[in-house]
């Protein structure tokens, strides 16, 4: 591998690293923490554009053979995840001014980049850890409430368990196949012996924990609630997307063995049902988003069951749509005290205080519910078409019916905003400033994906 190749293959990651350095230097020279915003924004945009361009020219290569390799799919995944980080940064600019947020976010994105190019299980582990470690800090950065610390600790402990499970899985893979490459893992997926099966189950369980699939979901509602709004947006969209896209890469051409398939189907459906049911009872907006994200993780895992060539497209499209609509909803939350704006009650009568925000949140909710003409419908359609294509007609039907339960919870938010009188003590203000920019950016993207889904699907 030539130096140019090395430079090019990991260009988005290099840019992120440069950005982190730039923020560190800015932090030293300037005493205004908000100065970190601009370098962070430029970095993320540059990294996303670099990945977009490399995807466009169809670059592929393996600068570190057996550990780190890139192909157009990897670049597409990076481009969409880094692109999603742009509105999140705008959100963060409104929320808090510490440069720490931007730095942690970039570090986590760097982890996502490694994860999405990993060829060995060690690299997977490394990427996943680098993705998660800054998150623990990000959660605690919302340290305005005592719950934040508790949530961060809970997340840390469960995340630690996830790490341990993953490591155990890796060592079992090594024992079963004698290697630690991704190819070895795929061999293990079809292994008949106890060791190989144990290895695969443990690795997938670790991924399920990171993606918040029932029964590994318990951390998500607390972590989302404890974190600040931008941190929630980051966890719900980019981190979840990175984990799922990495799993697609890990599976590669391989299909799952029948027993494993049954487990994935069962847990995915369980996640959809439980996520939707539990979300109905929530009184906080972020907890609602958390449970809804558990249900959506279920759809994403269902997409893994499809034929190998359709998986990446399905998951990537779903992540784009799901990520955009989630960020849109969070960006439109009314401003105010953190605990106040999180209360679902604060949304009551929002249409009369801030019609634009109410309409945009409604668009996001309907898209998450998978109701056309919003892009969430196309994403849902894609997932269930993929599932049906692989012959699991019954699973698709059950999944669709389970998704029906979710409609109620999204309607509830709309009902609050449009049909309920405002709560007496609502002291929230309409959205403005950088959050409005974030909303505008995501809205434009949502409309683009909604009106021309074919273009996006063609790009992937």
């Amino acid at each position: 591998m030539t130096p140019e190749g090395l430079l090019l293959a990991a260009l988005p990651e290099h840019l992120l690293l440069l950005g982190i350095l730039a923020i560190l230097i800015t932090d030293l020279v300037s005493n205004r923490p908000r100065d970190a915003f601009l370098p962070a924004l430029v970095t993320v945009i540059a990294a996303a554009l670099a990945a977009f361009w490399l995807h466009g020219v169809g670059h592929s290569g393996a600068p570190f053979p057996g550990h780190f390799s890139v192909d157009p799919d990897a670049f597409a995944a990076k481009a969409l995840l880094f692109g999603l980080a742009v509105p999140v940064l705008f959100l963060a600019r409104d929320e808090r001014q510490e440069s720490r947020f931007a730095m942690l976010l970039l570090a986590s994105l760097y982890g996502a980049g490694l994860l999405l190019s990993a060829d060995s299980l060690l690299m997977v582990f490394f990427g996943l850890e680098l993705l998660s470690l800054p998150l623990y800090a990000l959660v605690v950065l919302g340290f305005r409430r005592p719950e934040s610390a508790e949530a961060a600790l809970k997340y840390l402990v469960l995340g630690g368990v996830g790490t341990a499970v993953l490591l155990m899985g890796l060592s079992l893979t090594l024992g079963a196949t004698g290697g630690l490459t991704v190819a070895d893992f795929r061999t293990a997926m079809h292994g008949e012996d106890f060791l190989a099966r144990g290895a695969v189950v443990l690795v997938i369980a670790a991924f399920m924990l990171k993606a918040a699939i029932v029964p590994f979901h318990a951390w998500a509602p607390d972590a989302y609630e404890g974190a600040s709004v931008p941190a929630t947006a980051f966890m719900a969209t980019i981190v979840k997307g990175a984990v799922l896209l990495a799993l697609v890469r890990l599976f590669g051409e391989a299909g799952a063995a029948t027993e494993l398939l049954a487990v994935i189907v069962a847990l995915s459906l369980l996640s959809i049902v439980w996520g939707n049911l539990a979300a109905m009872r929530q009184e906080g907006f972020r907890r609602l988003i958390a449970y809804s994200s558990i249900a959506h993780a279920g759809y994403l895992f269902l997409a893994l069951l499809g034929p190998a060539e359709a998986r990446f497209e399905t998951v990537a499209f779903y992540v784009i749509v799901y990520g955009l609509t989630n960020v849109l909803a969070l960006a439109c939350l009314p401003r105010g005290e953190d605990w106040l704006r999180d209360r679902l009650d604060s949304l009551k009568g929002l249409y009369h205080r801030d019609p634009r925000a109410a309409i945009l949140i409604a668009v996001a909710m309907l898209s998450l519910a998978g109701i056309p003409p919003f892009p969430g419908f196309v994403a849902k359609f894609l997932v269930f078409r993929t599932v049906m294509e692989s012959g699991l007609v019954a699973v698709a039907v059950v999944g669709l019916v389970a998704s029906y339960i979710g409609i109620y919870l999204y309607l509830r938010v709309i009902r609050y905003m449009f049909m309920s009188p405002a709560a007496v003590d609502s002291r929230t203000q309409p959205t403005a400033g950088f959050a409005a920019t974030a909303a505008l950016l995501t809205l434009a993207a949502v409309l683009l994906v909604g009106v021309f889904p074919g273009v996006v699907l063609g790009w992937l």
């Binding site: 109701i371 056309p372 359609f381 078409r385 029906y404 409609i407 309607l411 049909m419 074919g454 063609g458």
Partner: protein
Amino acid sequence: MSEATALNLLLFLPVIGGALLLLLPERRPDLVRGLTMLVLSAQLVLAAWLYLEFEAGVPGLQFETRIPWIAAWGVHFHIGLDGLNLLLVLLTAFLGPLVVAGAFTSIKQDVKLFHGMVLFLQFTMLGTFLAQDLFLFYVFWEAMMIPMFLIIGIWGGERRIYATLKFFLYTAFGSILMLAAVVYLAFTVLSQDGTPSFAIADLYALELAVPVQVLLLIGFALSFAIKVPVVPLHTWLPDAHVEAPTAGSVILAGVLLKMGTYGFLKLGFPLFPDAAQLLTPLIMTLAVVSIIYGAGLALVQDDIKKIIAYSSVSHLGYVMLGLVSYNLLGVQGAIIQMVSHGLVAGGLFLMVGMIYERCHSRDLAAYGGLAKLLPVYSVFFMLLTLAAIGLPTTSGFTGEFLVLLGAFHAAWPQYEQGLIYPLALASAAVLGIVLGALYMLRLVRRLLFGDTQAPEAEGGTLRDLSLREMGILTALVAAIFYIGLFPNDFLQKTEQAVIEYQQRVLPERAEGGIR
């Protein structure tokens, strides 16, 4: 302007209107109303022009547009007019301006959002009728629920939230199963033809095993039957109708309910002909049960809106009966009946809205002798009642008469072969007409005649219809009598499409020449 452009313009006018609406200030409801009225009137003119330009006897679609939308899946933006949707498009465009005019004084809060939702609804309803691609159809079909959900939920009566959630959750449940069937069809097309396609014409050509057809038809039929609504899936309807604002009720009764019957006509039966034939006795039974049960319920209601709501269940039972007769008379009768019911029930809901605006009560017992208080109102109410009963010279007669004729036509040969059941059902359907006269005359007697009383009538007087209200009702009554007296043109323009429908569902009978 090319003709296909005109059809696209017809469809997208509400979107353009909605975009312009966004620019208007919330403080100027008069401008908002004026703009919406203008847009919808232009739409009506366009629809009328398209109707006149539509050529009878030409097979296939006219004014067709077909451009790729999601190329990889074979999804096209594909719209066109044929004999099946022509009259329904005209009906939708006709009711649009009347609905807005009817809401001039009754909608006072969130005027901009209301008119935006009416335009959104108009767009999705026309889209559903015009779509010739199953994916596109589904998108419009589902999207339709959103504005209706808001219209009932925001401007509705006291129990509006319960009613609107019930409406949405009922219809969404049907849609989910339909979606499963759509996904399955999509993937069957791919495996049979090798190229993905959602074109409804391609789907007609699919060869499916009978058990698969039955399952898929159930998926589609559940969704359509909830919309129609067919007993026993009708329980959302009275709640939605009663709680909806007048405009919502008019659109619901006038157009939305026809989506279900149109769905059966366009997709349900012709896509799965073998299953349709297999299930015909069941569908026929449910249709007749709807006719009689709906009429029976209408007979005992004390809420004026509920009477009309249940009468809708009964009248749409006739449409279903006509559709499963699979002969020219019955199916054309069903189409005329759809339009007729749209006009009559729409008109009756508008009239209930007008009296509610004056007296704030829908309780039948609170009224009496309105003929003396509101003479002009009473004349119009009487005319609409006669049309609802199906008196000759009104559209109701044309529709119901043709449907019954068709049903008997289909039942008679079967009777000669020893099958009594279809004939018995057709005869039972006649009973619905008697019941229809009974409940409508009961409504008229208690509302218009008897001792004079009306809530909130200050000094024993009420303001009679304004010019605006008279204009709306005159337009409706004129249309009702036009269809009743001159149905020929409508029948000619729908004939070719109905023959095609018949050939798809019942090839052998169509070839046998039985009409």
